[in-house]
């Protein structure tokens, strides 16, 4: 366990916080969960850095996919899930194609995002997409400018999707409600207001 | 479905050069697999007389595994081809007398395939467990 320093000065307490890695502070279940959801043997990572070297996000941020793999192995759940970098993966899968251990770091990241989401750590834009789909069936719905353009092209104003056949929407909503996703999206977005 | 605690009796006849060595390698690598197999070593699967297998079934074996070298790898050039041919014919005979030929398996495991040996055993044990006790079982007692 990290040494608790009950310094009166909060700032100093944070500045001098015990930064050692203690096994007792970690969650070994985190690795198992990441491997289960991500379907990849993250514990086989030998930290060669091919993933970070391949990553389009790494050169322009502090996002290091290799470090996320390491945190999974070491059970550093809290650190991984609360790191805003977790959401900088563009899921391009280049690291997955090149990983010499034949792992899928991208899917490990997706798994960590899934675990973060269980704790309501989800960026707002993801939830807005959920709301839009619940409402219209589309993440990027139609609009009037586009309707006009469609007609000009000889297409119907509404595409042959839930836009034209809204009778399919209840089914979609049922699926999302099965997981209580819309409700969560509304709640989390409202809390963030 | 067979009862969970039932332990099948499965005979394995395996060749000295490939499968026996592969099984030894599985041991050396400490790869764990189900304990339901009893192995008899022969120098080559070519030695396996179909009568041995019939005898085993008659004695009440629930399954028989014959395992040799990969084709082209036989220590004696072609014993495994001949064994494969015999096993194929024997499976046909078993099928024709109404005996499930899945109880007889021939596999090819090389000396370097310890992990494969373990998989083969897992597979064979599962197949036999799914089939349940051999119909000859009572007869043998």
């Amino acid at each position: 366990m990290a040494v608790k320093k009950d310094y009166k000065d909060q700032k100093l307490a944070e500045k001098l916080r015990d930064r050692k890695y203690y096994v007792s502070d970690t969650n070994p279940e985190f690795l198992k969960e990441v491997e289960k959801i991500g379907q990849t043997a993250a514990h086989m990572c030998f930290q060669c850095g091919t993933c970070t070297g391949s990553c389009p996000s790494a050169p322009r941020s502090s996002y290091r996919i290799r470090l996320f793999m390491r945190k999974a192995v070491l059970g550093l759940e809290e650190e991984a899930l609360t790191d805003p970098d977790l959401w900088l993966c563009t899921t391009c899968y280049t690291c997955t194609d090149r990983c010499p251990r034949d792992l899928a770091p991208t899917d490990a990241i997706m798994a960590m995002r899934n675990i973060a989401a269980r704790r309501d750590i989800i960026p707002r834009n993801f939830l807005q997409t959920v709301q839009l789909i619940y409402k219209t069936g589309h993440g990027v719905p139609n609009n009037d400018t586009n309707r006009a353009a469609r007609k000009k092209l000889g297409l119907d104003a509404e595409p042959e999707t839930t836009h034209k056949y809204p009778e399919y929407l209840p089914g979609i909503r049922k699926i999302l409600d099965h997981y209580g996703l819309k409700e969560r999206a509304d709640r989390i977005l409202a809390e963030g207001e | 479905m067979a009862d969970e605690n039932w332990k099948p009796k499965i005979l394995a006849i395996i060749c000295n050069w490939c499968s026996y060595a592969g099984a030894d390698l599985a041991g050396g690598s400490r790869i764990q697999y189900p304990p339901d197999i009893r192995a008899i070593r022969v120098m080559c699967t070519g030695r396996v007389d179909p009568l041995f297998i019939l005898k085993a079934f008659q004695d009440g074996a629930d399954g028989v595994l014959v395992s040799g070298c990969h084709f082209g790898d036989c220590h004696y050039l072609e014993g495994n081809y001949k064994a494969a041919k015999r096993m194929f014919l024997l499976k046909n005979v078993l099928k024709n007398i109404g005996f499930d030929d899945k109880r007889l398996r021939m596999t090819f495991v090389s000396a370097s395939e310890g992990a494969k040996w373990a998989k083969v055993i897992e597979d064979v044990v599962k197949t036999v467990k799914d089939l349940g006790p051999s119909p000859f079982n009572e007869l043998a007692r």
Binding site: T96, N125, L127, N146, K152, P159, Y168 | -
Partner: protein, 301 residues
């Protein structure tokens, strides 16, 4: 053509193509018709759903939502053809996973049962571009034969996108470091497919990054612009409306955020194909593009 109706597919539209670049939808139907592929409406389809957003929140929801779209096509008894890499990831990959994983399939069917649907795994999913390349369906030669107005004199950079071909092991497109099949399809139209640095780099938009951190996403896009300019590309083509959105509208955003103007026309391959088959810019809705396509059109000899 007597073979015209030989290949029929349920046409999965997705979101960005019908609702932002309807020219792609129009072009896909018309150009495919000329190549012997009939695209039939997949009524009631929804968002694929967006693999970045939904996959990140809960993969199970992503499976179930994609499976619903798959079932619609199963009910038609038809394979799906689509025009977007993001849709390909959702629809193809979920189909692939459900076909090969009984546990997943059972889980999904439990949810689908609530809306009286059942996923059976009876159809396949294809990207139109791969159907064009496949000699058993169309083939590069037939694409070339369909050209009435060759796009000669222009250099076109090709963006393959990520979610169509990667991860390589699960897909069937072969090499993902330096693929050339889409370049071949571009060459078939008379244009010169130009090789640029880091051709396979991501557009920057995927995985929810466009919505999460726009500047970050645009910085990746901007790098692609630099690499394309280096070799003098006259346009960029892709097979993903979401990549198109990122490259096309992204250039406006790059202008706003970074103060850099590129003006590189971005065309979906079906738009390019439409031009080569003689469709007019108006028929393709090219006026809806954020970046003016006119300079590119003028350059075609």
């Amino acid at each position: 053509m007597s073979e015209n109706n030989k290949h029929q597919y349920a046409f999965f539209l997705g979101c960005v193509a019908p609702n932002r670049y309807p020219g792609i939808e129009a072009a896909a139907i018309k150009t495919s018709e000329k190549l012997g592929i009939k695209l039939l409406p997949l009524k009631g389809a929804s968002c694929c759903p967006a693999p970045g957003a939904f996959g990140s929140i809960d993969l199970n929801i992503w499976y179930a939502m994609a499976a619903r779209n798959l079932v619609l096509a199963e009910q038609m008894g038809m394979d799906i053809a689509l025009i977007c890499n993001g849709c390909y990831k959702s629809i193809w990959e979920v189909n692939h996973k459900l076909k090969h994983n009984d546990e997943l399939r059972d889980g999904v069917n439990e949810v689908l049962a609530e809306i009286d649907m059942e996923y059976k795994g009876s159809i396949d999913v294809w990207h139109l571009a791969e159907l064009y390349y496949d000699p058993k369906i169309v083939g590069v030669d037939r694409v070339a034969e369909s050209v009435t107005r060759p796009l000669t004199g222009v250099k076109v950079g090709v963006h393959y996108g990520c979610h169509l071909m990667k991860p390589q092991k699960d897909r069937h497109f072969g090499d993902t470091e330096n693929p050339m099949w889409l370049d071949e399809l571009v060459a078939a139209l008379g244009a010169e497919p130009v090789q640029y640095r880091n051709k396979m780099q991501c557009c920057g938009a995927g995985g929810g990054v466009r919505g999460y951190d726009l500047a970050h996403a645009l910085d990746i896009t901007n790098e692609k612009m630099i690499n394309l300019q280096e070799v003098g590309a006259d346009a960029l083509t892709e097979v993903c409306p979401f990549c198109q959105l990122q490259f096309d509208r992204g250039q406006l955003e790059i202008h706003d955020k970074f103060g850099i103007t590129w003006g590189l026309p971005i065309l979906h391959y079906n738009e390019l194909l439409g031009l080569a088959q003689g469709m007019s810019p108006d028929e393709l809705g090219l006026d809806l593009h954020a970046v003016d396509v006119e300079p590119f059109l003028r350059k075609i000899q």
